[in-house]
């Protein structure tokens, strides 16, 4: 081996070690440890702690945005384009709003859904300041990580659509969009853009990241889920519990069947803070016979519309169908 080869091999070794160390730092920051964690089962509480709140992201490693460097730009078809730093945004009057978010890829009975109290500014206040042109009809949203999504100007101007910067009384965690994200009630989570840095009013139908793929996230389907008991469990009779959600339409009723959908009984709604949140429900059950039972749940939204029984997966507009849990009752 000549001197040149020796130097090259040493350099290769040093670069492998150095790159390995840096890659390990990035791996620890990566989404591998927290993406897709489901909020399910007996531990489901009315407010989901920030650490447990579900995360779905396009990224391998989520952004860590420097708040001092962050700016929110509001432009496009407006008369008064604006650029605000975090101090300016934070000095505006805020509201607190409890809102549930659900991922569009959440399957029937699955747990990509969580509930939190958000603090922020109604987006319509900012858009009003920017003075939209008559032709503006959609809002195109940009994030620091290159993510984009759109929604209608009408939805953006609803009083419950927030630019949020606090979650359950704390600054937004990095993984939930620090320093600011949108909360767009009534739509699936992908519209509630995290790490938002630009809001553009447009008159066309340009599509964002997931919209180009074909996802249609603008209306949450009414869903209901049984958290307790679990599928396949053996019980002697117990309380049946779970969650129901209908975007921004609220839940007016939850019904449970213990015989596979033949007969329905109304469950008690224990927690339902507003139309924007999930309803946590319970149903006391004293089985009249031992053996196999199929529990089924269905919900009715605030407009009186019953949950769809059509079984469909989450592609492209969210899953539908009734959640069924099979249990064995022991004497």
């Amino acid at each position: 081996m000549n001197r040149r080869d020796l130097v090259l091999r040493a350099a290769a070794g040093a670069l492998v070690l150095g790159s390995g160390g840096l890659a390990e730092v990035l791996r620890r920051q990566s989404v591998f440890g927290y993406e897709g964690i489901e909020v399910l089962g007996p531990q489901v509480a009315p407010i989901t702690p920030n650490k447990s709140f579900y995360v779905v992201t396009k990224n391998l490693i989520d952004p860590r945005v420097d708040r001092d460097r962050w700016r929110l730009r509001l432009g496009g078809l407006v008369d008064n384009p604006m650029t605000l730093d975090f101090g300016e945004v934070g000095s505006l009057p805020t509201i607190e709003q409890e809102t549930t978010l659900e991922c569009i890829s959440n399957g029937v009975g699955a747990g990509l859904m969580s509930n939190a109290v958000w603090r922020g500014i109604p987006l319509r206040e900012l858009i009003g300041e920017a003075r939209p042109n008559a032709g503006a009809r959609r809002v195109f949203l940009h994030a620091a990580d290159g993510y984009t999504h759109s929604t209608t100007l009408e939805k953006a101007l609803e009083p419950t659509t927030l630019l949020a910067f606090e979650m359950n009384g704390e600054p937004l965690p990095d993984r939930h969009g620090y320093p600011a994200r949108l909360i767009v009630p009534g739509t699936y989570g992908e519209v509630s853009v995290k790490w938002i840095d630009r809001i553009e009013l447009v008159d066309d139908d340009r599509e964002g990241y997931y919209e180009k793929q074909g996802w249609q996230a603008q209306r949450v389907h009414t869903m209901s889920r049984i958290d307790v008991p679990k599928e396949g469990s053996r019980v002697t009779g117990a309380e049946v519990r779970g969650a129901a959600f209908a975007g921004d339409r609220g839940i007016s009723r939850v019904e449970v069947s213990t015989n596979g959908g033949g007969r329905w009984s109304e469950a008690k709604i224990d927690y339902h803070a507003s139309d924007l949140t999930w309803a946590l429900w319970s149903f006391p059950w004293s089985p009249s016979r031992s053996g196999d039972h199929q529990l089924v749940v269905r919900a009715t939204d605030g407009t009186g519309e019953l949950q769809s029984t059509v079984e469909d997966d989450s592609v492209p507009d969210g899953a539908s169908g009734l959640h069924r849990v099979r249990v064995r009752v022991e004497a």
Binding site: N2, R3, R4, D5, L8, R9, A11, A12, L15, V16, G18, S19, L22, A23, V25, L26, R27, S30, V31, F32, E35, G36, V56, K58, N59, L60, I61, D62, P63, R64, V65, D66, R67, R69, W70, R71, R73, S105, H142, A143, A144, D145, G146, W195, D197, R198, Y209, Y210, K212, Q213, G214, W215, S314, V315, P316
Partner: protein, 148 residues
């Protein structure tokens, strides 16, 4: 051969430094942000299932991206070694063309920055970072291959 691998490792090391220090997306981020939106959801979701779900797919993307630059380096090193006369102009022109092509193709994805740099500044930084990656790659390749 080893010259190309070292060039690829140097570019990989720089890309990781730029990601951690300045929030510049990794090459795999640029490529996925540019092209994944065009994969129809009917193909995208089943594809994730094939590799074991979104987390495993991301792990696969992350770790394979770490191998990509040394692998490209290996190929480039071999190609360079086959040139009968190792003229400096060849890798320089090839590097410049590769950078121009990357900037042109990835242009919409260059405006992102994981530390929150504004889009215009982020695009400049991304383009400069890609140039630096190509530059260090070519520089190490040429230096390491130079006859002693």
């Amino acid at each position: 051969m080893i010259a190309g691998v070292v060039a690829g490792l140097a570019a990989l090391f720089l890309s990781l430094v730029l990601r951690l220090a300045l929030g510049v997306p990794l090459p795999v981020d640029f490529v996925s942000d540019r092209f994944l939106p065009f994969v129809p959801v009917g193909i995208f979701v089943p594809s994730l299932g094939v590799v074991g779900g979104p987390i495993l797919a991301k792990m696969l993307a992350f770790y394979s991206s770490l191998l990509a630059l040394p692998a490209i380096g290996l190929a480039a090193g071999r190609a360079y070694a086959r040139l009968s006369r190792r003229r400096l102009a060849v890798p320089l022109v090839a590097g410049l063309l590769a950078w121009l092509a990357a900037v042109a193709v990835l242009w919409p994805a260059l405006a992102s920055n994981y530390h929150g740099l504004p889009p215009g500044d982020a695009r400049l930084l991304s383009a400069a970072s890609l140039l630096a990656l190509v530059g260090i790659f070519v520089g190490v390749l040429v230096t390491a291959r130079r006859d002693t």
